[in-house]
Symmetry: C2
């Protein structure tokens, strides 16, 4: 009986979120390459991450090395602000606790004519254009011919100090409303493609200390982080993400821009927040 | 030693989030009236809610009655989609499990000349203007002289079916990137002012079932919900929220619109996402 009501009620609100009916065959999937696939074990579950060497090659390379050296295993999210970011690592981007070099800024890149671009919004509040590049939310300035990854929930970027070239090992995950003002100021290098519920369970730090824990015993620790390449193929999960350049995804964006369901008594403006588009993923063994 | 590094690293990213130095005396506080103050006990902690009778008087009145009847105690969040909403109640907005009447739509209201308005963004992507009204994020259409609460993270609204007047008891909390396309389509009636970390710990439902749990044992239950008015004054917490019409808050918005810190190598556009402004709160006994 409970179930019956639940379905009746929710079917509606649901329509407001899910895409309109999209033929499954039009929605193509892309397998995430093993060298860009990372599994992070948290107490709340496994977090699956896709790295993006297309936008942040040096950052991704260093991150891969740190993961393979098991640098992050046992370290924690030592600064966590609800609605903003969970920042993890050893707490040292000054390099005292890592032998890695600092990373030069990879805040944006040239827009390559070969680069696929699925438009979301033009103009966006924070950029001339937003859209998707190979599964990642991005923004673009056509005049400057530049493109960059946007600070949407679930995005990973490197922490740094005031020096733009000071990233080294510590990173943050966006856990709240997109802090888009950080765009083009950080080395954004990946995205949580599955397991944001586990990320959201990370313990928040004290608000009166800007999220930095005083009591280290309360810090949520990384049990382990592994590149997919370090796991035997027979043992590891494969990840398939929605192909943001397939006709099905374009239809999904159109359906979100132009809400035709009876549910909407006031038709929403025909705009799209690039950070408010669900990106489907399938994990299989 | 850990601490030292942690502070060094994080001081920087921090500047990007917190307000610039604001004289404490300019930031005024408003005590939340007891009749608008609700405490919801979840397994992950206490969630403190402010109701908004200014925008949704009928919804708030019915919600108060439901809370006082302990209607929600033991019920759960039966449909939870990460990045979107956690929906709770009895799963029946068809009224089978509550003797309450349905609530007529309270999707927007007339802008009253007496109403304070602290502007955030003009124009916003989803509305001609956004701003704050008595501590709540809102949007406005000056031509139509209408104003409404916006679907920011932490906002509470009533679930409904396709009938705009079908809200009754079940509600949702926004837990992800603001679904602003729902604005002016729902009875938005309150805001989580403290304890979003506990809300974020609510168990997510199965993605292949649109967040609706099949296994009811996995549903996060509401241990209890109480109006502050039902708790003896000597026993209850008082909540003070930032006065969004005080000079200090205006300074905070200015500092977020115009980032002057050395941290920013690329100055962000001078825009403000009304859903990306932290609203300070103090709870005291």
């Amino acid at each position: 009986m409970y179930r019956k009501y639940a379905n009746a009620v929710i079917g509606c609100l649901l329509m407001a979120y899910g895409s309109a009916a999209i033929a499954q065959e039009e929605l193509l999937w892309r397998e995430v390459a093993a060298e860009n696939l990372v599994f992070m074990e948290l107490p709340g579950g496994t977090v699956t991450i896709e790295l993006n060497p297309e936008f942040a090659p040096k950052t991704v390379q260093q991150f891969r090395e740190l993961v393979d050296e098991r640098f992050f295993d046992g370290l924690g999210f030592y600064r966590v602000i609800d609605g903003f970011v969970a920042q993890g690592g050893d707490g040292s981007d000054l390099g005292e606790l890592s032998d890695k070099p600092t990373i030069k800024a990879e805040f944006e890149r040239e827009f390559d004519e070969e680069m696929p671009w699925e438009p979301a919004q033009d103009p966006d509040l924070f950029a001339p254009q937003t859209g998707f590049v190979n599964g990642f939310p991005a923004a673009r300035d056509p005049d400057a011919n530049e493109v960059w990854l946007t600070h949407c929930p679930g995005m990973l970027a490197m922490a740094r100090n005031n020096d733009k070239d000071s990233s080294r090992s510590d990173f943050y995950i966006v856990i709240g409303q997109a802090p888009r003002y950080l765009d083009r100021n950080m080395n954004v290098f990946g995205r949580v493609i599955h397991g944001m519920d586990a990320v959201q369970k990370i313990e928040r730090g004290p608000e009166d200390n800007n999220g930095i824990f005083r009591d280290e015993t309360r810090i949520t620790r990384i049990r382990g982080m592994r590149m997919a390449t370090a796991i035997d193929e027979s043992e590891r999960m494969s990840a398939y993400v929605v192909d943001t350049h397939s006709p099905g995804f374009e239809d999904l964006l159109d359906a979100r821009r132009d809400r035709r369901q009876d549910f909407f008594h006031r038709k929403p403006p025909k705009v799209l927040d690039v950070c408010q588009v669900p990106l489907a993923v399938r994990l299989t063994k």
